[in-house]
Amino acid sequence: MASSLENLETQLEMFIENVRQIHIIVSDFQPQSQSVLNQKLQSLVHGLQEVDKLKSQVQDVHVPLEVFDYIDQGRNPQLYTKDCIEKALAKNEQVKGKIDAYRKFKANMLLELSRTFPNELSKYRALRGDE
């Protein structure tokens, strides 16, 4: 998986570099650079072919759509990861707090019930089988 992603990354980088070079050639065009431009255009098509070939290798990569919003706004997509991790951690802590609170509540409840209704609770426990 990592290698296929790396391959794609390299291909895309090469493609971008090719486009950048075309931009330089085109920005102040000289008649003698027509053949170079033609070569570059062919390599552009070749680059697209290579990227297309790698398509099948990254089919199982799922990208959350929210990341695109970050990128579209010119923000670092790692911030999305950071936000997700922070949110997950906060939620984890919240749920842990709730579970702990319920556990304490159950223990206190059983304690108080055993004080107030000792017989009933012993029956209950016997039925439950957790005596």
Binding site: E13, I16, R20, V26, S27, D28, F29, Q30, P31, Q34, L37, N38, L41, Q42, V45, H46, L48, Q49, D52, L65, F68, D69, I71, D72, Q73, G74, R75, N76, P77, Q78, L79, T81, K82, I85, E86, A88, L89, K91, N92, Q94, V95, K96, K98, I99, D100, Y124, L127, R128
Partner: protein, 236 residues
């Protein structure tokens, strides 16, 4: 008039409720388990509970993984967490993709380069990509000369910035220090030196102040102090 009002209210009575003609107070068969009872008729009718009462509902099966466990550790994401929470990430996209040419920090909607637009309006695909023929290449025959102003853009600043940083990193790893890094290093050094100089200057000032204060105190306590009274003056 009043009767009409009551008639209007009637449709909302429990009789015609969507639940049927059942009173809302009447308990329904709930999910907490059934309450089995035996009703004895006869001379002394009685209701005897013959099954477990509702508290005996089976508790939900406890799953192995709950929010009580540290999920970050469970999934081995502690490293990622410390990586992202420890350092302050740079906001710009260019800091994530330092090698990318062009201005990439501006919103994608401005120049129609947003990824959203690719999803919303997917490009035509499925066709085989073939190299351009000579006839097709003729379409790319350009006129000599520079591009019009609006199509020209220079955006090498962010790349330079990151190249520097990269070099710094290499330097740390043990590579040969580049000129640029040495320049930046010296600049930071001079900055530090300036700070130190300032600090020294401030400390000297404070020392001088303290000395002055000590002198004043001494003068106050000493009999020769001009402000204090001499024995002769005292007597008069």
């Amino acid at each position: 008039m009043m009767g009409d009002q009551f008639r209007k209210v009637e449709p909302y009575s429990p009789k015609s409720s969507p639940r049927g003609a059942r009173s809302p107070v009447v308990s329904r068969q709930d999910s907490s388990g059934t309450l089995k009872t035996t009703i004895l008729l006869g001379k002394n009718p009685s209701i005897v509970p013959s099954g477990p009462f509702y508290l005996m509902k089976e508790p939900p099966v406890e799953s192995e993984l709950t929010g009580a466990t540290n999920l970050m550790a469970y999934y081995g994401l502690e490293h990622s967490y410390s990586k992202f929470s420890g350092k302050k990430l740079k906001e710009q996209l260019s800091s994530f993709l330092p090698t990318l040419p062009g201005v990439i920090d501006s919103p994608g909607q401005q120049d129609n380069s947003s990824l959203r637009s690719v999803i919303e309006k997917p490009p035509i695909g499925g066709k085989e990509l073939l190299p351009l023929t000579n006839v097709q290449l003729d379409g790319f025959r350009l006129h000599p000369g520079p591009l019009p102003e609006q199509y020209r853009y220079t955006s090498t600043v962010p790349i330079k910035k990151h190249k520097n940083k990269h070099k710094k990193h290499k330097h740390k790893e043990g590579g040969l220090p580049s000129q640029e890094t040495t320049i930046t290093d010296t600049s930071s050094d001079t900055h530090e030196k300036k700070h130190k100089k300032q600090k020294r200057h401030d400390e000297d000032k404070e020392r001088k102040k303290r000395k002055k204060e000590k002198k004043r105190k001494k003068q106050k306590h000493s009999p020769e102090h001009s402000g204090g009274l001499t024995p002769g003056q005292h007597s008069s």
